[in-house]
Amino acid sequence: MLELGLFYIAATVSLISTVLAVTRYNAAHALIYLIISLLASAIIFYLVGAPFAAVLEVVIYAGAIMVLFVFVIMLLNLGQSGDVAEHVLLRPGMWIIPSLLCVILFIEIVYVLQSSERLLERDGRWTQRSRVGTFWTLCSGCRDRLYAATRRSGRRLSPGTALFY
């Protein structure tokens, strides 16, 4: 189970650093976060049994390609003015519609992954696959608890909440 634990830790690190990489105003900072994300990916590669890919990820991705970015950022020498300019370019309101689109896609991907599809096993047998357990259980657990709470409190469900069930 150590691997599983490490996987979730690495995944969390990867997600957080990627989000930070995309949201930073300073390009150099974003780059550092991106490198962290790539390193976390390398750990996951190692954990799922692809050590060579993990090495390549570190050497080429985090090493070579990111260095290209570093060079360019240094070459352009944006410095403080770049940060200021970035504040002008990136306004909070711009996040709304793209996030909506991505959420739709996210729902679709989750819909697929949590489906109880039968998948072909390595030995050629078709077996019922586990669902996206952790995440989904967490969600439905919350839902059940919320449901129980509302039942207890005797309040009626608001339409929006009802939809959620």
Binding site: E108, I109, Y111, V112, S115, E117, L120
Partner: protein, 484 residues
Amino acid sequence: MITTDLLALLPIITLTGVILVVMMVIAFARNLALTCLCCSIGLALTLAAIAWVSINLEPQYVTPLIVVDEYALLFSSIIVIGAFFICLLAYSYHADRGENQDEYLMLMLLSTLGGIILAHSAHFASFILGLELVGVSLYAMISYPVRGFFSLEAALKYLILSGVSSATLLFGIAFLFAVTGSLSFQGMADATAHMEHASVFVLIGATFVLAGIAFKLSLAPFHMWTPDVYEGAPAPTTAFLATVSKGGIFAVLLRFFVSFDGFRFEAILESLFWVALLSILVGNILALMQDKIKRVLAYSSIAHIGYLLVGFLAASAVGGKQLAIEASMFFLIAYFVTTIGAFGVVTIMSGSTESEHDTDQLSQYEGLFWRRPLLATFFSAMLLSLAGIPLTVGFIGKFYIFAAGVQSGLWQLLAAVVVGSGIGLYYYLRIIFSMTKQPVSEDEIDIPLAGGWALGMVSVLLVVLGVYPTPVVEWVTSVARALT
């Protein structure tokens, strides 16, 4: 064993060798004419190699990645012939503009190589390899006029959006890989052979892959980049982008769907149906009042790929596969001839201006009939072929699509084709009418030798295939029969 493998790969090896030779030539003598000569001879050699392989060798797999069969060779030869004409046009374009840009032609050969690999690919690894070979060379070809402003903008747009689409495509492939455990088309087909309906994994994988491919084919709603990139890129690049790159991608799409038998999954067809419908309508509507020729052609190419998809979708009907595949292949050939010709005219018109932009304003074409009757006649022929007027190759292509659609009962799509063709007639004739007006400018238009001949040959091809299409029809039929 090894020898036959290498022989089967002869077209690819020949073209690779030619590219190396051209690199060396450029290193030693920077002479555009010499480079162009090498390139065209090289392309002719490649064509000869294709012919040799198709005559002497049986269809075979060379590694699981590459399959050499009639189908691959048909698409390869279309691509190589197209590249040959564009090579001559590009030479004229750059030579007239006094730009000594030899590497351009080399990049074009690289891109062509990518197209051939796509035509041969039977595996997603070779697919991605070919796709990126086409794409990365194109980035450079689009941004080639270094002094231009629009070309840079076009290249930037194409790079980023194409990157997004490639990533989408790869993600879809990953899904398909996850569900089937194989990356070869045949392996995927075997793993899903039992499925009546596609599993949701297959569905999401397929739609992501289709989205990626639809971007490269510029189908709506993934078409947004098309007009801007077509307009910004130099005219020969546009011709190349509109034909060779799309031909290769379509070859993979068709092969994948036939061997994977994607036509049995109604859900996938449903989404493709909307894509086709939207492409036909949006493409034609956007072109309606457009005043820039290159943008008109861009929008009309969106619509045309929509028509192509109608032929493709016709394969879903029971017993309609053979005719649908024939129709798609013939339509693609017709599209190649016509599009290369149309952009060829723009290329020649643009070659003789000093302007940083290509000559693509409608007003610049006014009175072309009086200034350059032959050029205007060629252009009219191309436009009439796009509109699908009889005795041009475009008519037969469209007729083929129609026959396939009727056989498969795709009535909604056929209605869209009819409406689209109706709208199309308006904006094609609009260009022809404006060419018959009194000329406004008296600028000299030179018709360069190489480009003029290339254009002439394409025009002859257009009419000959319109009047006597039988050899090509037979070729296409036999290939379709071998494929199904």
